[in-house]
């Protein structure tokens, strides 16, 4: 897909390196993988804490207040204090709850989230594994994440939780379709399912603005669907703290609650990451046509910083949604999906196919 004259980005994933070591010194490979796993664990925790702090600060400034200010400089250590508090809290399990499922729910949700973290390309050199069916993998896993919420809601043996779990299931399954349709557009443009391949296909320009609005529309669709899939306002009806008193996590406390909480925040990062990878060029620097000086300057910024910067912007947009919109109602949510987003998604997919057939790109591919 590379056009001539462009520097080709060589992608080396962590799994590739481990495979290389496996041929000569297998223990190196094992050590490497263990390090990678530890790094992911550290990242999950750091990401969670960072995002929680960020959300609190951003929400505060949206709402004309300061947010956490006491623990550390401008409350920078607040998340650590909260983590310690959550770790020390009593882990209450309702007497009539299904003990096993009650435990499985939050773990499943978090594990699924972490599995998605593993395939996101953070930079050409930093990606755990480049799954050959990357987009399919993403779709499958985001569908699985609802199972954790459903289990949590069902096993709590609480009517509010059950309602929340059921709402979550209905919502995620519905919005999955739109999200998939939006992802398909990019897959068709890029001609590959691997995430690194999709990123590399955007060396000339990002998909969001390369194809006469089709990319922009599918990014919009994906953002809406993804916000619904991760249950954030205005689609946070499975939690609906003012109607369902927390929904599926009503009966959770302590560390289990922390897992749900952590998963929610990392999901936000994941969604932002997927959006960036598929529509905003992932770790690719910004390139504009023939502005060589500008392009060279942009190329000086390391790819990982590009990825991080774009993700931060997307996360900010998600937070902006949350602190501005009221919550929707269940049937309004379903109507939005089945009557508006789904037809638009199909038309968009068809338009994308036409554009690909006629090669009406803004830039040569």
């Amino acid at each position: 897909m590379m056009s001539v004259g462009q520097p080709a980005w060589e992608v080396v994933t962590v799994a590739d390196r481990a495979e290389y070591w496996l041929e000569s010194h297998w223990y190196f490979a094992v050590a490497y993988m263990i390090l990678a796993v530890l790094a992911v664990a550290a990242m999950v925790v750091a990401l969670g804490m960072g995002l929680i702090y960020g959300e609190r600060k951003i929400a505060a400034h949206f709402q004309c207040r300061m947010g956490p200010m006491r623990v550390g400089y401008h409350g920078i250590l607040q998340s650590i204090a909260d983590t310690i508090k959550l770790l020390l809290k009593e882990d209450i399990v309702p007497e009539r709850a299904d003990k096993v499922l009650h435990l499985v729910g939050p773990f499943l949700t978090l594990v699924v989230t972490i599995l998605i973290l593993g395939v996101l390309p953070y930079s050409p050199l930093l990606q755990l594994a480049d799954v050959s069916l990357g987009v399919l993998y993403l779709t499958a896993l985001s569908g699985l994440s609802v199972l954790g919420l459903l289990l949590g809601g069902w096993s709590s043996n609480n009517k509010w939780s059950l309602l929340g779990g059921m709402r979550a299931a209905a919502q995620v399954i519905s919005y999955e379709i739109t999200a998939t349709l939006a992802l398909l557009v990019v897959t068709m443009f890029a001609g590959t399912l691997t995430l690194s391949g999709i990123v590399q296909s955007q060396a000339q320009g990002w998909w969001v603005w390369r194809a006469h609005g089709v990319g922009l529309l599918s990014m919009g669709l994906f953002m809406i669907a993804a916000t619904a899939e991760i249950n954030r306002t205005p689609f946070d009806i499975p939690e609906g703290e003012s109607e369902l008193t927390g929904g599926f996590h009503t009966e959770y406390s302590g560390l289990r609650f922390a897992f749900f909480f952590l998963a929610e925040f990392i999901n936000m990062f994941v969604v932002a990451g997927i959006t960036v990878t598929l529509f905003l060029g992932g770790w690719m620097p910004l390139r504009i046509g023939n502005w060589e000086t500008f392009n060279n300057l942009m190329g000086l910024i390391p790819p990982s910083l590009w990825f991080l910067g774009k993700v931060v912007v997307m996360v900010f947009v998600l937070m902006w949604f949350r602190w501005t919109f009221p919550r929707m109602r269940v049937d309004q949510l379903m109507r939005l999906e089945w009557k508006f987003l789904l037809p638009i998604g199909f038309i968009n997919l068809f338009a994308a196919a036409v554009i690909i057939l006629c090669k009406w790109y803004f830039f040569p591919v």
């Binding site: 929400a59 004309c64 003012s242 501005t324 919109f325 009221p326 919550r327 929707m328 109602r329 049937d331």
Partner: protein, 387 residues
């Protein structure tokens, strides 16, 4: 004649049990007493079919303090602080209703200054109450930012109260025969500054929440209460006016100096949640208008026409006085037996107690999420229901 007394547990017998694994079953859910929508301690038992409400059973009484019984042992001045604890968002109006009824009964004539200050204070309180309600409605519908905006502005009104009255919530300010304290010299300039600050803010509220498509979806055509039903269900205040009945005590039976100011009674057309929402938004503007007209020429005079310690003894009789609080008609019924300075029987017609039961009429057939809109739009203050 036979009287059948029922109990709550009798009402909450489980509905018919499903006989096949595929048949559906209605179920009871307790919304409250500990629930975010309760805004205090109000228990609402919902009979649900899936997410659709079939029946609503409000169970108040978790904050019942027996204020009416306490009143029987206190003289009229001591009753005033008790009324602060009923509808704490309309504390000044609660004070006023007792003061007004006692003044009517005892034949005390107050002067223009007292009545003007009472009116200004009540309108500021109404403004404060509506601002808070707006934020709480936003929070109930998931827009948390609105809540903090409203609290920011509520504080500013609260500071004016605090400076003049010495309290932010439980005022104990309007007394039979006058006011507890005179206003401070810079009260007028501060109120003017406040009005200048609040006027554009109401538009900002509109921009943040009222125009939002999701909010409109959540409120429009939801929970319709038509005017005839609203009257027979005893609703008053913004709830009744939203149903198209222009019954506002400030206009119909003016008290204070409401007959000297120019303001509009805001009414709705449909009686849905949106009308109840917008009637209150518009009432905030009207309150600002009223205060603006009054604040410039405060009449001179004493702030108390009786001696504070004067023993108030009402002649034998039944007295009923009422004022319009932020939530509707608050009435005080006093039966005095003519001896002693305490009422023989004191009863409060609380607007929230009477508005609450409208939910049993409105809510069936709507979803749980709509119930939130409905109850929020009724703007209930629980301690006033229970008294």
């Amino acid at each position: 004649m036979s009287v059948t007394v029922r109990t709550l547990s009798e009402l909450l017998m489980p509905p018919s049990v499903a006989d096949s694994p595929l048949s559906t079953q209605e179920y009871f859910v307790n919304m409250g007493p500990q629930h975010p929508i309760a805004h205090g301690s109000l228990r609402i038992v919902l009979l649900l079919d899936g997410e659709t409400i079939r029946k609503v059973i409000p169970v108040p009484g978790y904050v019942h303090r027996g204020i009416e019984k306490m009143c029987e042992h206190m003289n009229y001045r001591k009753i005033i602080p008790l009324t602060d604890r009923m509808d704490y968002l309309s504390a000044l109006m609660n004070n006023w209703v007792v003061a007004r009824t006692v003044e009517m009964a005892a034949g005390i004539e107050t002067n223009a200054r007292i009545e003007t200050i009472r009116t200004i204070m009540s309108e500021l309180q109404r403004l404060q109450s509506h601002v808070l309600w707006w934020g709480v409605l936003g929070m109930d519908l998931g827009a948390f930012t609105a809540f903090l905006y409203s609290f920011r502005d509520r504080e500013i009104i609260g500071e004016i109260f605090e400076e003049t009255i010495g309290a932010r919530l439980t005022m104990n300010y309007i007394q039979p025969g006058g006011l507890m304290y005179d206003i401070l010299p810079d009260f007028v300039s501060k109120v003017k500054k406040l009005l200048g600050y609040l006027r554009p803010l109401i538009n900002e509220y509109d921009a943040l929440l009222s125009g939002n498509a999701i909010l409109q979806e959540r409120l429009r055509n939801i929970g319709i209460l038509d005017g005839k039903d609203a009257i027979s269900l005893g609703c008053t205040g913004p709830v009744l006016r939203a149903s198209g009945v222009p019954y506002d005590l400030r206009k119909v039976e003016p008290y204070g100096v409401y007959d000297k100011v120019d303001f509009d009674v805001v009414i709705g057309t449909k009686g849905d949640c949106w009308d109840r929402y917008y009637v209150r938004m518009e009432e905030m503007r009207q309150s600002i208008r009223i205060v603006e007209q009054l604040i410039d020429n405060l009449p001179a005079g004493p702030y108390m026409v009786t001696k504070y310690n004067a023993r108030l003894k009402l002649p034998k009789g039944r007295y009923y006085g009422q004022v319009e609080t932020a939530r509707g008609v608050l009435g005080a019924f006093i039966y005095s037996d003519g001896d002693g300075d305490a009422p023989y029987r004191m009863h409060f017609r609380s607007p929230n107690f009477n508005n609450l039961w409208a939910v049993t009429h409105i809510a069936p057939g709507w979803r749980i999420a709509d119930y939130i809109s409905i109850q929020s739009s009724l703007d209930l203050v629980i301690p006033d229901i229970d008294r």
